[in-house]
């Protein structure tokens, strides 16, 4: 067995592999990729620390001809993969190959990566049409140009890619053509640049755009003037790339415990012998769910099993807020409430939504409510609680807790002390507001 050691690496003279590029004769892709090879060779970049992320289209074939890592993903989404790679490992050089087609379909990703200044190098292979699918028009097709989908001339105006990313904060922005002699130098700068770098490189699609529009090198250079666009290095700003910035901003979080367990030990007795269903019916934004949660914590502290399901509109601060609480001496599987044993009716919004519950309740059940709803349609026994007797200022945001605490005193499921302790342990920030409300609830009975 002949055994050889690992060879020491020599300086790299190329980052291309031995396979020839597959593009049509005269296609700009070949020129641009050769420029990139020069840039990579100049940088002597570590291929294992470099990822080429390619979009879809003819340009999407390109990653296969380099000796770096490669990621060939879906149409228009190359920027999202590149962002994920860079955020997860900011030490990697991430180079994106995208066409004018991918720029169009993935426009929002491009804008957001520019806005965030994700440290990517984006090379736009901009040949004014879709080369792979038959020469259809793209977001950069010039006005009036003939393509497979604009046979009578393009009625649209082209997207200015550089202006779009530039106005949204991209740190390094360059516009040029595949014929520019300084492209390898610009690519080298862009790869070494910390933030988001984009090179909009105009090039010829000899299969479609060139023959359809009698469009050559001269016409392409002329188009820059016709459109009144600047070329060359358009932006070169000092920025920190997003991956480092987000880590710096959250640096003081490091090592803190994540979602620690909050075990609740039994501290109070209870008088619950079977499942007890308690419903709070009030208005969204009026702390109904918060009051319900206190019942839950207090119940668990009183050796009960508790569930709570809430119903409220997506607007959060308007409309109804219904909390259905089950308190049980045994583990609860089903969290729905068919018929409340007690219902605390707090507001008109609650009344509108609690109709089904009110109708189902019987003489054995209790409705706790304010004088305004003394005539609420239900067979349940009514306990009218007058907030005027509370002796504190009653507001939209403390009425739910006031009535719920009064109901709990009357129902005597567990000591009211459990609710007070729940406030101190689980709603610490609001303890100063909520404890007097719980105390005042005694005055209502």
């Amino acid at each position: 067995m002949a055994v050889a050691p690992i060879q020491i690496e020599k300086p790299r003279s190329t980052y291309k592999n031995e396979r020839p590029f597959p593009f049509c004769p005269g296609c700009g892709h070949t020129l641009i990729l050769n420029h990139l090879d020069k840039a990579l060779t100049k940088l002597q970049i570590d291929p294992a620390k470099t990822v080429i992320v390619s979009d879809i289209g003819c340009v999407g074939l390109s990653d296969q001809y380099f000796t770096t890592n490669a990621f060939h993903g879906l149409h228009g989404r190359s920027i999202t993969y590149a962002t994920g790679i860079k955020l997860a490992n900011p030490d990697l050089n991430v180079i994106v190959f995208i066409g004018d087609g991918g720029t169009g379909i993935g426009g929002t990703h491009l804008i957001n990566a520019a806005r965030r200044n994700v440290g990517l190098t984006v090379l736009v292979f901009n040949n004014f049409n879709f080369g792979m699918t038959g020469g259809e028009h793209s977001v950069t097709t010039p006005h009036g140009a003939i393509t497979a989908t604009t046979r009578h001339g393009n009625p649209e105006w082209p997207l200015d890619i550089c202006a779009t990313v530039g106005v949204n904060g991209a740190g390094y922005v360059y516009r040029g053509t595949s014929f520019d002699k300084d492209l390898p130098d610009r690519m080298t700068e862009a790869i070494e640049y910390d933030g988001f770098a984009l090179l909009d490189i105009w090039e010829l699609c000899t299969a479609y755009f060139v023959p359809n529009n009698d469009f050559g090198r001269k016409e392409m250079l002329g188009l820059v003037d016709t459109l009144g666009l600047e070329t060359g290095l358009l932006h070169h700003r000092q920025v920190t790339d997003y991956a480092h910035r987000m880590r710096e901003l959250a640096a003081d979080m490091a090592g803190k415990p994540t979602l620690p367990l909050k075990p609740i030990e039994t501290a109070y007795p209870n008088n619950v012998t079977r499942k007890f269903h308690l419903v709070l019916a009030g208005s969204a934004g009026a702390k109904v769910r918060s009051a319900a949660k206190l019942v839950g914590y207090a119940g668990v502290m009183s050796d009960l099993w508790v569930t709570q399901r809430d119903d409220y509109p997506t607007t959060v601060k308007t409309g109804h807020s219904i909390s259905e609480i089950i308190l049980s001496p045994e583990e609860i599987r089903y969290t729905g409430v068919a018929k409340p044993d007690a219902l605390v009716l707090i507001s008109v919004d609650g009344l509108k939504k609690a109709g089904r519950h009110l109708a189902n309740m019987t003489e054995d059940d209790i409705l706790f409510t304010i004088p305004q709803f003394a005539d609420a349609p239900t067979k349940a026994r009514k306990v009218i609680l007058d907030p005027k007797k509370a002796g504190i200022r009653v507001t939209r945001t403390n009425l739910a807790l006031l009535l719920t605490a009064a109901a709990l005193r009357e129902l005597n499921l567990f000591p009211i002390d459990a609710v007070e302790e729940a406030v101190q342990r689980f709603q610490t920030r609001f303890a100063d507001q909520n404890l007097p409300v719980i105390a005042a609830s005694a005055n209502l009975l």
Partner: protein, 407 residues
Amino acid sequence: MAKEYIDGATAIARGALAAGCDFFAGYPITPATPILLHMLNELPKVGGVGIEAEDEISAIGMCIGAAMTGVRPMTATSGPGISLYSENIGLAIMGETPLVIVDVMRMGPATGGATTPAQGDVQFVRWGTSGGYPVIALAPSSVAECYTLTQRAFDLAERYRTPVFILVDKEMNYAMATVDIDEYVDAPVGQRPLVPQSLPEPAVVDGVRVNAATGQPDPRLRPEETYLPYDFNPVDAVQPTSPFGGPHITRFTTSSHDEHGFLTKDAEKVKRLNDHLRLKILNHRQEMEFGISDLQPEADTLFISYGTTARAMREAVDRSREAGQPVSGLTLHTLWPVPENLILDAVAGHRRIIVAELNHGQYIREIERLVYRDAAQKRILPPEIIGLDRADGELITPEQFLGMVNG
């Protein structure tokens, strides 16, 4: 006994963190948002990265890109977001990307009911991308199970290098529940197979370079390669990989590819890739059959359910037995691949099978397929299979189950 009072979203986030999740990208959507908020708050504490992406497409795209650097990503959304994930789910399958996707189901179609529980995405997650390739999907039915099954999801995603869904619903994610903290059971979480970091010694034998993944000389290695990233040998074996930034060059592609990761239309190589993507899951289905069989030998009726609906089922089973009426219950934790042995073992001996789900009858198709095929093979009469469905935004109640015990 110490207890906790928490919701499913917190348990899922905790399960993810316990499983080593260190990357999360998501886009706000009711009722999945609480998971996004937890993960963005918590990940910086463990040196991870959490980001609110510009849309669902970028959320899953970022996760897939990040996964290739070796991190353990998770994302969370609801049905409308799964629609936008669809194409990238295919990419994650094709690229053999470990990725956990939480689908907090809400009532559809389209925007449907944002705050309304439903289980309408069960077939959608299975068939929601082109090509029809298998995925894994788990469905917890309690808050404690949210914790454990999230860890299992990471384990399966890593070991099988594939997207794994966690199917919950608004009820499971949001409803507060009491949990005996002893019920938080940690599941073992493995790691995707990795190519050894260091190159083999000797590096060359008889003029042929040695493959870092197999330790064997391999004349197929290209000059820049140290291993073959897609050499499926045997075809159902999960292939070792190497993260971007590691010592080995790795190619990842959405297109049909050969052993090097180059695009190919060679029928033999395409078949091998496609067989691999199927068989690495289906040939190992017995290793991912999770559920709770609560069977009574004298029972005529077997309830089968999953997720939130299984909670009502388990209550109904208890109540029926207390009333002296035997009944069996099967809670499925694995939905995909279909846990065939678990289901057929539970079905055996029952005359009536009630499949309950918060949709118009989706998983019952799998039960029917399995049970009828099994009966045909055994030349026996199959049991009656009946759906208990609901799609009005309300939960299936224990009373609905109880009403079906006796037919």
